[in-house]
């Protein structure tokens, strides 16, 4: 089940990349459940985690169906190992403080929404349908994360300091969203998704507008940490999987 050395079809690759982003970020958000600084934020993070896990079921369900190897969405979530995961390095980064969690979400949402809008024109109807559904939910995610970046960035001296630190830390992981690789080129050639770099201008202009309102400085270093999309992950993903997959690994096929 390691899944390496198997060249997946472009449709499967796209569905895995989208689904794994949702799964890992959804899991990260779920780690906040019961720990948030305010009840409303706890509920919001849990709701967003729920949206993302729901979208994961759609994307990984499509990946499983298109792959045709008899695996289910659950099999893909619970029985693959680190090198088979296709999520961005950004979404597996630790939660840190609340500000870092919100900044990670904002940088991701600002890409996720235009990506989903573009995917509504995909050559595969199933991709377009999932994107149509998910984009309505993600519009709410982006509204919230942008609002909070502004409120915290333009908040107290302490909240401003933390948001700037989060931005400086996470900025190097944002570039991977726009760095196309050979698989992205195949996916684009199949009419499934835009070339990643084509989303950079809309992302950049939205992010810069929000950061300006938040009184946060855009980092000048555009070096991009890459690898997640092709299965080369940071040390953090293994720990996420150890927790997320424990039950199915220890008790294979367990159900309730």
């Amino acid at each position: 089940m390691a899944g390496h050395a198997v060249q997946t079809a472009p449709l499967v690759e796209l569905a895995l990349r989208m689904g794994d982003n949702c799964l890992i970020l959804g899991h990260r958000n779920s780690e906040w459940c019961g720990h948030s600084p305010a009840l409303e934020e706890d509920i919001a993070l849990a709701n967003m985690a729920l949206d993302l896990i729901g979208q994961t079921q759609l994307w990984l369900g499509l990946a499983a169906e298109a792959e045709g190897r008899g695996r289910s969405a659950d099999d893909l979530a619970y029985l693959r190992d680190v090198p088979a995961f296709r999520n961005l390095l950004l979404v597996e980064q630790p939660n840190g403080d609340f500000g870092r969690t919100i900044m990670r979400q904002f940088l991701f949402d600002s890409w996720h929404l235009p990506m989903l809008r573009a995917l509504q024109g995909a050559s595969d109807e199933r991709v377009a349908e999932i994107a149509e559904k998910a984009s309505k939910e993600v519009a709410y995610h982006l509204e919230r994360s942008g609002d909070l970046v502004i409120r915290l960035g333009d908040g107290t001296e302490e909240s401003h300091r933390r948001m700037q630190a989060a931005l400086d830390l996470l900025w190097s992981y944002a570039g991977e969203m726009f760095a196309g690789d050979a698989r992205d080129a195949e996916i684009a050639a199949a009419g499934l998704a835009p070339e990643p770099d084509s989303l950079r201008p809309v992302w950049r202009s939205h992010v810069e507008a929000v950061l300006a309102e938040a009184t946060l400085a855009v980092p000048q270093n555009d070096y991009a940490q890459k690898g997640g999309k092709s299965g080369r992950h940071s040390e953090h993903l293994g720990f996420i999987l150890a927790e997320m997959q424990f039950l199915q690994r220890a008790y294979p096929g367990a159900a309730w």
Binding site: G54, E132, E137
Partner: protein, 164 residues
């Protein structure tokens, strides 16, 4: 032994008796998630669209539809999922909106489903006192479909069924 095959109109009226598992004052038909009812040979096909991708009620909804129709004597029921067009709160019936309000949940503001993500200036009436001096506490509430609001006149917090 086998009852006469009911018309799709009759099946629609039966489905109108199935309550939403999380907001039981409205039916699944009121909610607008039953998209089609049709006979395919001797099998009744019911097409359902999810509200939110991750709504935990989805599997319960399918179970309740299946159970209710079996109780009506239908033993060949197939549930189909349809994602597109994506569910919108515009599909909640007029009766459904009234029932939500009576239950204490402000129904979605008409005509706002298409502008998700730019809902800052919503005019939401308090379901308890009717005041329009209300404010949003959080766009995420007790279930995926609801936001958390507060009335500035009667001071009661309330759920708003948010537009999507």
């Amino acid at each position: 032994m086998t009852p006469a095959r009911p018309s799709v109109e009759e099946v629609w009226s039966w489905l109108g008796e199935v309550p939403d598992p999380e907001i039981p004052v409205i039916s699944l038909v009121d909610l607008g998630i039953v998209r089609d009812v049709a006979w395919a040979g001797d099998t009744l096909e019911v097409t359902v669209t999810p509200t939110y991708s991750g709504c935990p009620a989805t599997s319960v909804i399918n179970f309740e539809i299946d159970r209710h129709l079996r109780e009506k004597g239908l033993d060949r029921v197939a549930l189909k999922r349809r994602l597109s067009p994506a569910w919108t709160t515009d599909w909640i019936s007029r009766e459904g909106r009234d029932k939500l309000r009576d239950y204490g949940i402000a129904p979605p503001v008409d005509g706002t489903a298409a502008c998700v993500g730019s809902l800052r200036a919503l005019d939401v009436a308090c379901p308890r006192c009717g005041s329009r001096r209300t404010e949003r506490i959080s766009q995420f509430g007790s279930t995926p479909c609801k936001a958390h609001w507060r009335c500035q006149d009667c001071l009661e917090p309330f759920d708003y069924f948010k537009s999507i």
